[in-house]
């Protein structure tokens, strides 16, 4: 039993990784230790999340869209000539 997942070395690293992950994903506000940090309300944070998402998705989606459009055009032009 002490040789597999709960083995001496694996146990320690496993638990450390697990704890760190929990802290990082679950309770990051505990890590909020800087003196200058002030984020208005929860709504502002939500708006920042939303706009971050918009700003991330839009350019990538548009570029991929244009590339696909060109690819389709190219295919159809090949079909026409050949």
């Amino acid at each position: 039993m002490s040789k597999n997942w709960f083995g001496e070395l694996k146990n320690k690293t496993g638990i450390t990784v697990f704890t760190v992950l929990i802290y990082f994903t679950g309770f990051p506000s505990i890590l909020k230790a800087c003196a200058v940090c002030f984020s208005g309300t929860e709504e502002t944070l939500g708006a920042f999340y939303l706009t971050t998402l918009i700003l991330i998705i839009l350019p990538i989606a548009m570029i991929v869209g244009v590339v696909l459009w060109l690819y389709k055009k190219k295919l159809s032009s090949l079909n026409h000539s050949g």
């Binding site: 708006a47 700003l55 244009v66 032009s77």
Partner: protein, 207 residues
């Protein structure tokens, strides 16, 4: 002596450019350039929209106390005008495809006039809002309104100038294919300007 040295320094002579084979690109250069420009424009407006969402989320009262409400109904009519103008452009393209140049030019002109009406009504709305005490510096509410709607208005104006300039193609060119390909970039810009308006209207006026 030095002068003649300079004359051949950066560019030596010229090449005869006649008899170059014509290229047939998948997408015409004008259209492709306009598509890239519109990507930038979409990002510009998404920047404005981000600003709107974040600033609005930070304020408790929206619209702030003492600021007038925006006229939803009259602007809805205005929105309708803009959408009809996009359909007019679409019809104009259709006529052009069938080689009906006069009809196409009429619809093109109609689209320009509708866009112009939109601008005038929008300007009238601004004058009224200013009279009600909503200015750029009266609150962030007013500032955001004038910024976003004004940015869109400037785009409408710019696109209208281009479309009006494009109108001369009907007079000058003979072949409907040339007219069609010359007009397409500006028409794409017009579709973009029209297409983004309902989004801004919903964002700024409705919610």
């Amino acid at each position: 002596m030095k002068w003649s040295l300079l004359q051949h320094l950066l560019v030596a002579g010229e090449v005869n450019l006649e008899n170059r084979p014509k290229r047939k690109p998948i997408v015409p250069s004008g259209v492709f350039g306009m598509v890239i420009f519109i990507i930038t424009e979409v990002m510009f407006f998404s920047g404005l929209v981000s600003a709107y969402l974040i600033i609005r989320a930070g304020l408790e009262e929206w619209p702030p106390w003492g600021q007038p409400r925006l006229p939803i109904e009259s602007t809805a009519f205005n929105t309708l005008l803009l959408i009809i103008s996009a359909f007019a452009v679409y019809q104009s393209r259709k006529f052009l495809k069938n080689n009906l140049i006069t009809k196409a030019s009429q619809f093109h002109l109609g689209a320009i006039l509708l866009g112009f009406c939109f601008l005038v009504l929008q300007g009238y709305e601004w004058v009224q809002l200013l009279q009600f005490g909503m200015t750029l510096s009266s609150s962030v509410y007013g500032a955001l309104f004038y910024l976003i709607i004004g940015a869109h208005g400037l785009h409408v104006f710019g696109a209208l100038v281009l479309m009006t300039y494009g109108f001369i193609h009907f007079k000058r060119e003979k072949s409907f294919e040339t007219i069609s390909s010359n007009l397409l970039p500006m028409q794409i810009l017009w579709y973009f300007v029209v297409g983004i308006w309902p989004l801004l209207y919903t964002l700024v006026y409705l919610i």
